[in-house]
Amino acid sequence: MAVWLTVAAASIARAVLCLFRAVHTAQSRRRARLESRAIRGIILLREWLSPQQRQQLDSYKYFEVIGCDSGNKYRIQHGISTNVVELDCEGQPHVGWCFVPEGNLVPGDVMLAQKIALETDERGALAIARQFLVPPPLPARSALRPAPMQSAEVPEASR
């Protein structure tokens, strides 16, 4: 009886192990497929960027484009939604524009479609886009630090 139970338990353990390995392999393959799609998208995007935009993308994970109609500057950040912001005259983000190509596209493809749309048909792109608020830029670190006390303000007793 004990031998039977041991054999059965071993078989079940082997089956569970096989199942676990199969799930793990399927997950790894899926992850690799998704990564491969994303890489293809970035390669295509890089092929279509100007040298300056390519440099920005490499350094900051975003690049800037000039709208063909208004001459305004837009920043396209890495992403697939709410990733386009219009910059003000000081280069600060002041309003966001959300527009994306239909379908389940990878970030590189989405960013390239947004670039082409703004550079060739800015009005058309903004007409269908949804605006979103952009958080105000954080104050500079130096502005957050308390001002150093003047020596004249230090109480006599603490010296």
């Binding site: 491969s36 799609r37 994303a38 890489i39 293809r40 998208g41 295509l44 279509w48 960027l49 100007s50 040298p51 939604s81 709410t82 959300c98 527009f99 994306v100 190509p101 239909e102 379908g103 389940n104 596209l105 990878v106 590189g108 493809d109 390239l112 479609a113 670039k115 082409i116 749309a117 550079e119 060739t120 048909d121 058309g124 792109a125 269908i128 886009a129 949804r130």
Partner: protein
């Protein structure tokens, strides 16, 4: 070789064709019309890096990219 690049769920699909081959050119034109008719936008890239939209099939375009219709997010 000229190339038509279609953005899709796999990243992109590329069709290479010889612009001097009448049959291949006709197939490329048919693909162009089918895609733009389905709402895709076609754009070409100049050697300078400038991008322009194309409304009708250009047999001299070296590289044309097609992206699906844009929608508000």
């Amino acid at each position: 070789m000229a190339t038509q690049i279609i953005m899709d769920h796999s990243g992109d699909t590329r069709h290479h064709f010889d612009a001097n081959n009448a049959k291949a050119l006709a197939e490329a034109e048919r693909r162009f019309k089918a895609l733009t008719g389905a709402g895709f936008t076609a754009a070409t890239r100049q050697a300078s890096g400038d991008v322009s939209l194309v409304r009708s099939f250009d047999p001299n375009a070296e590289e044309t990219v097609f992206y699906p219709r844009l929608v508000g997010g």
